[in-house]
Structure formats: structure tokens, C-alpha cells
């Protein structure tokens, strides 16, 4: 019996994950209670071969890259390019709801990896393919990387510095995989819903394109072109826009940066007055008490750009007089949506996230103490999403799955291992 308080929203869902592009999608399902078995090649998934590693020493089980995207999963090994793996695959496909296929076109040449064939075997399967450019089209076999995806999809041309001799910038963090993984989960959960709510609607194939997912994730750039034939220009630390705007981000007294959303000008006059009072404590209001500013800021529908830039830059000069944390807290107390530009690790000590129980304490192979993993961004009142188990060792569940569940003898398993199939 499962304790009812630990039943996640996807409890009971059975998922097989293959390839390298489905890591994030698989993690989202696994943390939510689905049983996700990651099928890895005998040498281990690609991310196991990418650092950083525990103590900076390579070990397939010590990759922090792998750990970050593979919590709560099980791992088995299988050489999909080896025809002898067919027998095992057929058995694995008997009892599964979702196949998360993150293998690029051309790499899964095993006949059984053909989605339509698998659906004949088990017509209730939702086969969700995530490929760099989709299963169809002139670029379907193009080569890809995170950098290439953020270039082609548009995020880079909106991101960078005022100085356009500097290149557009790719934000670090494999965001194309995250974006595609998030969209893939919406697609496959919708397909599951359709399957489960209708007797006559069995499984199907879903074709998720990373390029399309990233292309749909550029906010205002789309409408600027479609409706006004305007192209947005990248600017340091703020939104790309068709015209140059004054800065939103300034270094404070201690060198740390604060982001003043929209250039720092409050949306309400009442808050502007409070901001002026605060600035006045440091004799930093400049000429902003001149009533003509209020008039332009809060009654002039043309949003006079020069005036706004002047006001914004005066506020920016002010915040450089104070430590960043003080600016952030006081601004938020005035209901200004300003943010401290933190390093990721600086959130570990913030009491707010502790109070929300955001962090998941867990183990990681090769490290003596426990670590804090980033948790889930959603708190389900009745079906918690949480760390089910630490990231799996390579092939950690071979015995459990192949022997315990598929019924292979130990001798047979050893033979598979020796011949390189698992």
C-alpha cells in the first residue's frame, strides 16, 4: 500500500525514456510520481559524460549535469543498435503508457524503435518523440546543439548587449531542452487524457520539434514583426525593443546588480511619490520634484521617451548609492517589481525558499553528505511532487527490471551483459 500523502499526481503512469533530448520531460514526469525507466546505452547517457563531476573527477555516476535532470528515475542499459535487444524491448513495451523518445533521427535504427511498429505491438502507447527539428521537413536531419537551437529559434537575437559589436547571447543552462521538455509534457499528458477519457481513442505518436518550441518562446518579438514589421534590438540586461531604451539594470554600492523592471518608473503616481521620498533621504531626487514630470509620466498618453529616460536614469543613479539587498527589499516594500540579480547559489540561504520547502534534500553518488536539489516549481495540495530517489547509477535497475520483472535468469542476464546488449 502506498501512503496516500505520498501519491503524486501521475502515480501509476509507466514511462520508458530513451535518447538524450527527453531528459527534462522524463524528470518532470518522474518527480510527479510516474515510474520512469531511462534506457541508456551501455556506456551511459550523453549527460553522464558531461561535467561538472563530483570533485571534478570523471565517473559516469558522478555527473552533476546528469544528476540535475534525472532525479526520481530508474536506469537500465540496453544497446538499441543491437538487434539482440529486440527481445528485451518487446517485453518492455508490453506494459507501458508513454515512450519518451529523445533520440535524434537516424540513431534509432533498430526496427522496433519504429514508432508505428511499436503501436501495433501495444496500441495504447503514447509515443512522444522529441527531435531537434521535427520528424518531417527539409531540416529534419540537421545537426543541432543548444547553442544552435537558441540561435535559430530567436532568443539570441533578442539577448545580449547594447554594443552590437558583441554577439547575441545564449543564456547558459540548456534552455532549449527545458523548453522542449516542458512542451512535450503538455502534449503527452493531453494525449493521455484523450486516451483515458475515450474507449475508442487509443495511443498515438506525438512529434515535438525543439526548434518550434524555442521559436514559440520569444514573447514580444513575434507581434512586433507580424503586426508592425518591426524588429527588436538586443539591449544590455533588459527587453529587446524596436527603439533604444534607457537601462533597467545598475550596479549598486557593493557591486551587485539590481534590475529595475521597466526602468524603475512606478505605474502609479502614489508609488512614485513614495519613491521620491526614499530618494530624498539620500538627496538623490535630482530635479524629479518638478511637477511637469508627474504630469508627463501619469497623464500623457504618448509616454514621452526622453522624459521617461531622464527619470529612469535619475532613479538608476540613486540606487548606485545603496547596497543591492537594501535596494531590493525597500523597493519591494513599495510594491516595485525590482529584483536582486542573484547568482543561482545565493538562493540556497534565502529563508523564503526554506519556508516554502522548495529544496529537496537528497543523495548524489560519490558525495558523502546530502545535497539540496532544486525542487518543483509547483506545490500540489494533495498529491505532492517530490524527490522519489536520487539519480540512478548507470544500469542500477537492470537486475530489478530484467530479472525481477521480465523474468530473465541471472545466467541469461550475464550473457546479455557479456555480449554488450545490456
Amino acid at each position: 500500500m502506498t501512503d496516500s500523502t505520498t501519491v503524486g499526481p501521475l502515480e501509476g503512469l509507466k514511462v520508458l525514456e530513451i535518447g538524450d533530448l527527453a531528459e527534462v520531460a522524463g524528470k518532470l514526469l518522474a518527480d510527479a510520481g510516474a515510474r520512469v525507466i531511462r534506457i541508456e546505452p551501455p556506456e551511459g547517457a550523453k549527460s553522464r559524460h558531461q561535467g561538472p563531476y563530483v570533485d571534478d573527477i570523471f565517473d559516469v555516476n558522478h555527473s552533476l549535469r546528469f544528476a540535475a535532470s534525472n532525479t526520481s528515475k530508474l536506469s537500465i542499459t540496453l544497446s538499441l543498435n543491437d538487434s539482440r535487444s529486440e527481445e528485451l524491448l518487446v517485453k518492455l513495451f508490453q506494459d507501458v503508457d508513454v515512450i519518451l523518445d529523445g533520440s535524434s533521427i537516424g540513431t534509432s535504427n533498430n526496427i522496433l524503435m519504429n514508432a508505428e511498429h511499436v503501436l501495433e505491438l501495444n496500441p495504447e502507447i503514447i509515443w512522444c518523440s522529441i527531435t531537434p527539428f521535427g520528424l518531417t521537413g527539409p531540416w529534419k536531419e540537421w545537426h543541432s546543439s543548444d547553442l544552435v537551437q537558441l540561435a535559430l529559434g530567436g532568443p539570441m537575437m533578442s539577448t545580449g548587449y547594447d554594443d552590437h559589436d558583441l554577439p547575441p547571447i545564449r543564456s547558459d543552462g540548456e534552455h532549449s531542452l527545458a523548453i522542449a521538455g516542458e512542451y512535450a509534457v503538455t502534449a503527452l499528458l493531453s494525449a493521455l487524457w484523450l486516451r483515458d477519457m475515450n474507449d475508442d481513442k487509443p495511443g498515438q505518436i506525438i512529434d515535438v520539434s525543439v526548434h518550434e518550441a524555442v521559436s514559440a518562446t520569444t514573447e514580444g518579438a513575434f507581434a512586433n514583426w507580424e503586426y508592425m514589421q518591426k524588429i527588436v534590438l538586443r539591449q544590455t540586461g533588459r527587453h529587446a525593443a524596436p527603439v533604444r531604451m534607457s537601462p533597467w539594470q545598475y550596479p549598486c554600492k557593493d557591486g551587485e546588480y539590481v534590475l529595475m523592471m521597466g526602468g524603475g518608473i512606478p505605474r502609479e503616481k502614489k508609488i512614485f511619490d513614495q519613491l521620491l521620498e526614499w530618494m530624498d533621504e539620500y538627496q538623490a531626487t535630482g530635479d524629479l520634484y518638478d511637477p511637469s514630470y508627474v504630469e508627463v509620466l501619469y497623464t500623457d498618453p504618448t509616454m514621452n521617451v526622453e522624459i521617461r529616460n531622464h527619470v529612469s536614469e535619475t532613479i538608476g543613479r540613486f540606487i548606485q548609492l545603496l547596497p543591492a539587498e537594501d535596494v531590493y527589499r525597500r523597493a519591494q516594500d513599495l510594491h516595485l517589481p525590482w529584483g536582486l540579480v542573484r547568482r543561482p547559489e545565493e538562493n540556497l540561504d534565502d529563508p523564503h525558499w526554506k519556508e516554502r520547502e522548495f529544496w529537496w534534500e537528497g543523495e548524489i553518488s560519490g558525495y558523502q553528505s546530502t545535497v539540496l536539489y532544486p525542487g518543483a516549481p509547483y506545490k500540489f495540495e494533495k498529491s505532492p511532487v517530490y524527490l522519489r530517489r536520487r539519480p540512478p547509477l548507470l544500469g542500477e535497475h537492470n537486475y530489478q527490471i530484467y530479472a525481477g520483472e521480465l523474468g530473465y535468469s541471472q545466467a541469461k542476464l550475464i550473457a546479455f551483459a557479456e555480449s554488450g546488449v545490456v
Binding site: 501521475l10 552533476l64 527539428f133 518531417t136 547553442l147 540561435a151 529559434g153 530567436g154 532568443p155 539570441m156 537575437m157 533578442s158 539577448t159 545580449g160 548587449y161 554577439p167 547571447i169 543564456s171 547558459d172 543552462g173 534552455h175 523548453i179 516542458e182 512535450a184 499528458l189 493531453s190 484523450l194 498515438q204 505518436i205 506525438i206 521559436s215 514559440a216 518562446t217 514573447e219 513575434f222 507581434a223 514583426w225 540586461g237 529587446a240 534590475l259 519591494q332 510594491h335 529584483g339 536582486l340 543561482p344 547559489e345 529563508p351 523564503h352 525558499w353 519556508e355 545535497v371 539540496l372 536539489y373 525542487g375 516549481p377 506545490k379 500540489f380 495540495e381 494533495k382 498529491s383
Partner: protein
């Protein structure tokens, strides 16, 4: 298998009703996904709590209108729109009837605001015990700083995502748009679908509290672990790659495009075969013969000079044709596309019909960003643009909410809608 035209394929979320109190970007992004997949999303507004994005990016700034924003249109397509005056008892009753009919209630106000409007989680449960409630807010509905507010860039700053963008010797470049509004929206849609699955299995509805900053923090797992285990503070890397440590991996300047704009190509080489192919294409003896570039480790150690030599080649080339040449010899490469490149000359997006058009009653026929997946036995739709303010009030009230036309006429007279 993937023909989009056949409307006889089912919409996966047909039959799901969503009471949508979202505004700006993050919330509308969540309900846009549900609406594209077939849910009946009813966006509720009133002139005192209108979606302020209706004023953003006016297509005709000389004649501003609630219905004149292309930006709003793109994020609210396929939804229906009603108005309800919450200061009037009849207006409140409309919302209560809608909640009674809804599978999902979703909002992205500041923490506590929806409860102050009269719709706490307790109240929602009283009205409809099977309704799922999704809240999207900056810091979440609990914790010390829950009253703090965020827009996309605020959340990116606090989460660590802004720091993870740009050059180490320059200030953070951040994201040039509200990336975390998209991300929070994606997690909002995921949470709604997960909660539906839980309800299907157990009969239980529930409340899901989403923090936009947390949707950014989940993307910083590698530096978080690296700091705790290896005591390494995060340092920016420009467009290079630290993990895996490969080179070349960068953006390189190309010839100006035919509109006279700066133009760049991303090239990543992870394998020896790709490196050899790149050397053959560039044909520069400095690359072939120099021991500084003989293997990946050497290239990584001499990345500045390596990137300089490659740039000397790319600056003589036009980005798009160079991208095709590099791809044809097996090298991951892509030009940095602007929106016009994506919409007017990206063969792949065009082949897959990624920008379908649909009518909007004020802005006319326009293209929309598609949903980035195709289904073999289902579909997503692009049927209609965003609702004009209150466009569907009569239809929704008389059909879905079962008011008589006379009752609706009375509500109009009483300013309840």
C-alpha cells in the same frame, strides 16, 4: 499522418472548461496552451480588472483600443472572453456559475489578490468541489516574501537566470524578454494537466501554488550542485561551452545581411569528424597544421585564437548560406535568426506550417505562433484570435451558464457585465 487540415481529428482537451482570470503574459501563456489543445477557456475581465496587456504594443497607436494589441492577440487566441462586474451581485453570480461549470480555475494575480476579490480556495471549493485551482504568482502564496511582486525580468534576476547570461568580464546580459513568463506559463499548463490526471484517478480536486521564480530556479540545477559539492561559484561563459568542454563552440560574425544588419552564426563542434570537416571547408592552413588545435583539449586551451581564425572566415560569408554548407557536411550550425528570418525564410518552420493564420474581429486576418507538436491522431487548433473585450458574454451566459436572454439584458442594464 500529420495532416493538420483534417478537423475530424479530436482536440485532446475538448470538454474541459477553464475559468480564466489570468492577465499580462505568464497566465495567458498557460491558458493559451490549454485553449490550443481544445479546452473551452473563458477569460473573465471587467474594466476595473482588465488585462493590461490589451494596451501593450498597440498596432495603431493613434487609435488605441482594448482590442488593438497584436501582442495580446497572440497570447489569447482560441479563448472566449466575457465581462463580469465583481462589484455587482449579479456579476459575482456570473463568476460563481462559471466556477461551478469549470474543471480548472486559474489566475496570476499577486498572492492573496484573488481571495480578496472573494475567491479564496475555500470559497472555490464551496462553489464547486471538483474544480482544480491553479495560482501563478512571483514568490508563491507562502513564505516570508510572498507579498513581493515580479514581472518576468524580476523573476529571472532573483532566480539566477539573469546572472547565467553574458560574458564573464561584462555585466549580466540577462534575457532580452520575459522568458520566465513563458516558463511559468508552461508549468501552469503542466500543473493543470497533472491535477486533471490526479482527479481522474482519485476523484480529488486540489489547489496548486506555482511560484514564477521557482520556475527559473529549477533551471539552475547544475550550478547549484556544483556550488554545494565543488564550492564553485557560478561564472558566465559567453557563448562558449564549459560542460562539455568543447571548442569551437561560439557565435561568429558573418557578412551583413541583405537589410544591412549585423549577422551571426552559431557553430558547435563536439566530434573529431566535425572538426576535420570544418577545417576542410575553411581551408586555412593555420587550422590544419597548428599543434594548438590538434585535439579538443588543445583547441579548448587556445580558444581565443581559434575563434579569431574562424571569424576571419565567417565574416566573408553570408550567414544563411554558410549555415546550409556547414549542415551539409555534418556540423551543427545555425544563424542567429530574427523574427523576420523565422517567419519569412525559415524553410523548416514554413514546411511544418508553424505560423497558421486566423481571423480577429478588430485586427483582421493574422498569423500566430503555432503549438510546437504534431499529433498522429489528434490536433491542436488555430481557430480565432483573442476575444474582443466581452465579445462572448452573451453567448457564454445564455449557453454555457444558462441565463435567459432577458436576464442578460437586465444585467447589461444594471452594469453587472
Amino acid at each position: 499522418m500529420y495532416s493538420e487540415s483534417s478537423t475530424d481529428k479530436p482536440l485532446p482537451l475538448e470538454g474541459i472548461t477553464v475559468c480564466d482570470f489570468t492577465w499580462i503574459v505568464a497566465g495567458p501563456q498557460a491558458t493559451r496552451i490549454l485553449a490550443d489543445l481544445g479546452a473551452d477557456v473563458i477569460k473573465v475581465e471587467n474594466e476595473s480588472y482588465i488585462d493590461s496587456m490589451r494596451w501593450g504594443q498597440q498596432v495603431d497607436p493613434e487609435n488605441p483600443s482594448f482590442n488593438g494589441s497584436g501582442f495580446h492577440n497572440n497570447f489569447n487566441r482560441n479563448k472566449r472572453g466575457i465581462t463580469a462586474n465583481l462589484h455587482h451581485p449579479l456579476g459575482r453570480e456570473i463568476v460563481e456559475r462559471l466556477i461551478k461549470k469549470s474543471d480548472i480555475v486559474i489566475e496570476n494575480y499577486s498572492a492573496g489578490a484573488f481571495a480578496r476579490m472573494g475567491f479564496s480556495w475555500d470559497r472555490i471549493q464551496e462553489i464547486n468541489p471538483t474544480a482544480i485551482y491553479i495560482s501563478l504568482s512571483g514568490f508563491g502564496h507562502t513564505g516570508r516574501d510572498k507579498s513581493y511582486i515580479t514581472w518576468g525580468p524580476t523573476a529571472a534576476a532573483v532566480s539566477g537566470c539573469t546572472q547565467m547570461s553574458g560574458f564573464p568580464d561584462k555585466e549580466p546580459a540577462g534575457w532580452g524578454y520575459s522568458y520566465l513568463d513563458h516558463t511559468a506559463g508552461y508549468y501552469g499548463a503542466i500543473a493543470a494537466l497533472m491535477a486533471l490526471h490526479h482527479r481522474k484517478n482519485t476523484g480529488e480536486a486540489q489547489y496548486v501554488d506555482i511560484s514564477q521564480i521557482e520556475t527559473g530556479m529549477v533551471l539552475t540545477g547544475v550550478p547549484l550542485l556544483d556550488y554545494q559539492i565543488n564550492s564553485r561559484r557560478y561564472e558566465r561563459i559567453g557563448n562558449r561551452s564549459r560542460y562539455p568542454a568543447v571548442a569551437p563552440h561560439n557565435t561568429y560574425r558573418c557578412k551583413q545581411d541583405n537589410k544591412g544588419r549585423d549577422s551571426w552564426i552559431a557553430i558547435t563542434v563536439e566530434e573529431t569528424l566535425q572538426w576535420n570537416a570544418l577545417c576542410d571547408l575553411i581551408g586555412d592552413s593555420r587550422l590544419n597544421d597548428d599543434p594548438r588545435f590538434k585535439d579538443n583539449e588543445s583547441r579548448k586551451n587556445n580558444e581565443d585564437i581559434l575563434d579569431e581564425i574562424i571569424s576571419e572566415f565567417t565574416i566573408e560569408n553570408e550567414a544563411q548560406s554558410l549555415m546550409y554548407r556547414l549542415q551539409s557536411i555534418g556540423i551543427p550550425a545555425g544563424m542567429c535568426q530574427r523574427t523576420d528570418d523565422k517567419m519569412e525564410s525559415d524553410e523548416q518552420l514554413s514546411f511544418r506550417d508553424f505560423y497558421p493564420s486566423a481571423p480577429h474581429d478588430h485586427l483582421g486576418e493574422h498569423r500566430y505562433e503555432g503549438y510546437p507538436a504534431k499529433f498522429s491522431d489528434a490536433r491542436w487548433k488555430m481557430e480565432r484570435g483573442a476575444p474582443l473585450l466581452g465579445q462572448d458574454t452573451f453567448d457564454v451566459l445564455t449557453n454555457l451558464l444558462e441565463y435567459s436572454p432577458e436576464e442578460v439584458a437586465n444585467m447589461i442594464a444594471e452594469l453587472a457585465v
